[in-house]
Symmetry: D2
Subunit: 309 residues, 4 copies
């Protein structure tokens, strides 16, 4: 990779991908989604991540999403593009596509489908770092890839310049604390982001540089306030905001007619439709949009603890 | 899918993908590999499966492998092509490509990366079955996709015509017995294959129609003998052959300098090189070819219990 | 341990523990259960295993169960007693109690609750073997103890005299084949039993010496026939019997009002009550006896594929 | 249970069990351990937990440990006794013994060894709560028992009076935040403790009432300072102290010659021996005391970030 022109920090929401009823990209909704985030003060956007339904998108669809995101953002904040695929050679193709489309950085997971050893995980990121023209972020998401990223390995990859940062969706706050401490000891080569919407205040207390909140689609202003309070050392404000956002995040656990990935992303889309930001809450195949009963469950939570000006 | 022109059974090895040193497809080696299998009497071949390093292949590489396999086989046996990818829309693109390339059937796993519920797994195969022009086989491989395929669901999908068969790599012989019994009760809509090289005799006793053995790259004749003995009810011959093949399969557990997926496929490639079938034992990035010490371990096992005429 | 006075093989059912309504041992029912098994021709009995609800029994209850089992069996077949507890010092106390009560051998799992390494697992069995006055069987049951027993380690423990055999409830038929082959290569120091009621024929084909079937409480004669057919090399008879027993084993998957351990043992007790062998289908706290609806589900299966004379 | 005479909060270390070389309780070392904690200002002590090697202790040894703890503490702080065993009837016996020995409360896990459903987990705690004469704490420790305790269930058990609090060793900070929020909404029936030494500051930010730190054996004063800072809202002091304690906690990850449970408790014992608090770092069978090389690794960390006055 080349030297990074920026040091990323703050709130970088993973963008949901609004669909029309027939499951094509709904561009006007996507524009409203992004503009609302920028107005709220986010520090970057992250298309083509797990929340963006990247695993469901054909390469054609991926290219369209990224092109539109770059067009809409228009340089106002960095665009960090997911390059999610099974193993190194396939990921490298997405890296090339992302760079060509104007992404400012890319986000890659550990290899998946074929079981890898720690040596292969490290090599994977070394190869990505060596061949990418933009900074590479490592995405620790064992629920999807079933491999953990070792904190010491990540700091070593940061020190060697292979990766510029980490998005932690590991669900392991102990590992996160160890990562931030090791990173600090190594001179902080990594920008460290948490992906856990429920406990961002604690992650900041542990030393996070920022947050990649799926719920930031629904309530970007809340996460911006939380980031600013934590950065200012105003922990009481941070945790009060976090408590509200944690209650709002219950929308992802509210569905009774579906589950898994679709329960979370489906809730974000449902909330965004209810808020008038996007047009439909359509989901990619093989999923359906939330049932009426599940929509009502989301609405009840929104009514109680939804976005506040 | 259209009605299947064939009912698959017997030995259908998943083809390893021979590479040149610089990691392009080694076509002459691939030809030798396939011709040796056909000479041994296999009943089909399976390119683009896990053993074929499909997770590492770009779409361009996938297309080349399948085209060459179809060309070399030239209609002598069915070519069953893997269409492995994360979720339904991406898999559908591979189905189209496989059909266009001349595959006789396709093999798809449960969706992966994004966590799915049983309802989505079923819908996934229903969509594939409805839109594929060739028969669809369900590939139960939780070690890669981290989702199991329920026996009752598979039989239901078979009865409705969505899938034509199952390749079972679940590691669950209880589930396999339940599947074969349920399938028989439903009129045997499914052709049921085991993917477990170590215990094929037991799988046949449980009612398997065939086997998809990675080790069939190394010793296709052994699996053909095992299939024929089991089919003939000569269980003593079947288990004697299986005992030898199980000892040979220890090559996949022999490596000390690597592990995971690479230890198994690396062993197949190493053995094939030692046997003079393929040119190199090169592996895809981020893996290396077996170390000299691991090559020696494979050689020792081959010398003791390797392929017999 | 002292030299074993016997080499165990054949059918050794784990005994369910019949309870009165107020959850004390129902001795007359226990007598009927054991006498029926002996009449069917079993080769041993196994009280205080998982099926015997050992994890629910106080030490006083354990002592009573074992004393009654030894009294009823009266030397006609070996009594193999479970000595299940968390870690070595607690297991050793159960070994002493079992020997004092007249058990012919003991069955111990890997240590559990505290996470152990392979070195500790091996040491555990070495200590048990060195201090037990009767043969020790290793019980590989990861669903309960969350640790696997490595085949090579077990054969090594057999060769050194620490253990006399293995009960395999691992759900891993590949590991089982590897175990039987390694054991044979080492001169067969171990008697190897499968605990998987669904696939006993395949286990015998793999080289099993016997079976420890929970379903043997319900249909001991079926497993005796299966054992005899397999031992005689009559595999068609073996698999026909196994197919019926596999269909009968569906009682353990039939409950809709409960799950987990209670669904299996509850089904055995329910079937035994329906067959008139035991008085109640009471379960230990915190479980309830099967609901009427679940009893009906068990009855339907029994009516179709139940014990045959 | 009777109404609790106290509302527990603050620092309640789980007591290691010092052993003589021949693995009997080292009473003088145990006294020094407890007195040092009391001098540091802890709010309670917790014998017979996982750290106390309860899974290794015979019932006789358990009784001795608890008797000595009660004697030494002599009413200065509450004594919370573990009643860890596989299933309800066995746990109830430990409850009776603990009450008779003078414990002020008991701590019980979910049932283990036999797989349970959520309904059985709830019933288990209801039975314990109904029959215990002292308050019951629920111990959420999936790494040992392989079952999670659902936050909503725990709050319901708290509201009904079955349990008085929770010790969370789940490794799931999201679940912990949800628990504290639900508990607050229900009127805070539960006292909620974290067991994660690495991230206690974040747990307090999430609303923890206290901490049960194994590392509190080594550095009780550090956790008392952390508790007091967090309680006072001085989050910068809290996290500075936590950062040091997290670095100290690396002793539990330092061993190279052992692993699992023994690596953690072995490190605590080794540090306590190096600090002159206990006489030996002996471990229960089947474990050994730390090797000299591992002792050196612990010493290096202690020298850098060990207990501070």
């Amino acid at each position: 990779m080349t030297d990074s022109p920026f040091r990323l920090s703050g709130v970088v929401p993973p963008l949901v991908t609004p669909l029309t009823e027939d499951r094509t990209l709904d561009v006007p909704s996507f524009e409203r989604l992004i503009e609302r985030m920028l107005a709220a003060g986010v520090d970057g956007v992250f298309p083509l991540g797990s929340t963006s339904e990247v695993a469901f998108c054909t390469d054609t669809m991926r290219a369209q999403i990224l092109a539109e995101a770059v067009r809409v953002v228009d340089g106002r904040v960095p665009v960090i593009a997911g390059v999610i695929d099974t193993q190194t050679p396939r990921v490298l193709e997405h890296v090339s596509a992302a760079v060509a489309a104007g992404a400012d950085a890319v986000v890659a997971t550990a290899p998946f489908y074929a079981v890898v050893t720690p040596a292969q995980v490290k090599r994977h990121f070394e190869i990505l770092g060596a061949r990418s023209e933009v900074p590479v972020f490592a995405y620790d998401i064992p629920v999807c890839v079933h491999t953990r990223l070792d904190p010491a390995m990540m700091v070593e990859l940061g020190a060697s310049g292979a990766i510029a940062g980490v998005k932690d969706s590991s669900g392991d706050d102990i590992g996160f604390r160890r990562l931030t401490l090791m990173n600090r000891d190594a001179g902080s080569p990594l920008a460290v982001f948490t992906g856990h919407e429920f406990v961002v205040d604690g992650a900041y207390l542990s030393g996070a540089d920022g947050v990649v909140p799926g719920l930031g689609n629904v309530d970007p202003a809340g996460y911006v306030r939380l980031h600013r309070a934590a950065t200012a050392g105003d922990w009481e404000t941070a945790r009060t905001e976090q408590d509200r956002l944690a209650r709002l995040m219950e929308i992802c656990l509210a569905a009774r007619d579906t589950g898994g990935w679709g329960a979370g992303v489906g809730a974000f889309k449902t909330a965004l439709k209810l808020l008038g930001v996007i047009e439909t809450h359509q989901m990619p195949e093989p999923w359906d949009a939330f049932s009426d009963a599940d929509v009502a469950r989301v609405r009840a939570i929104l009514d109680e603890v939804g976005p506040q000006a």
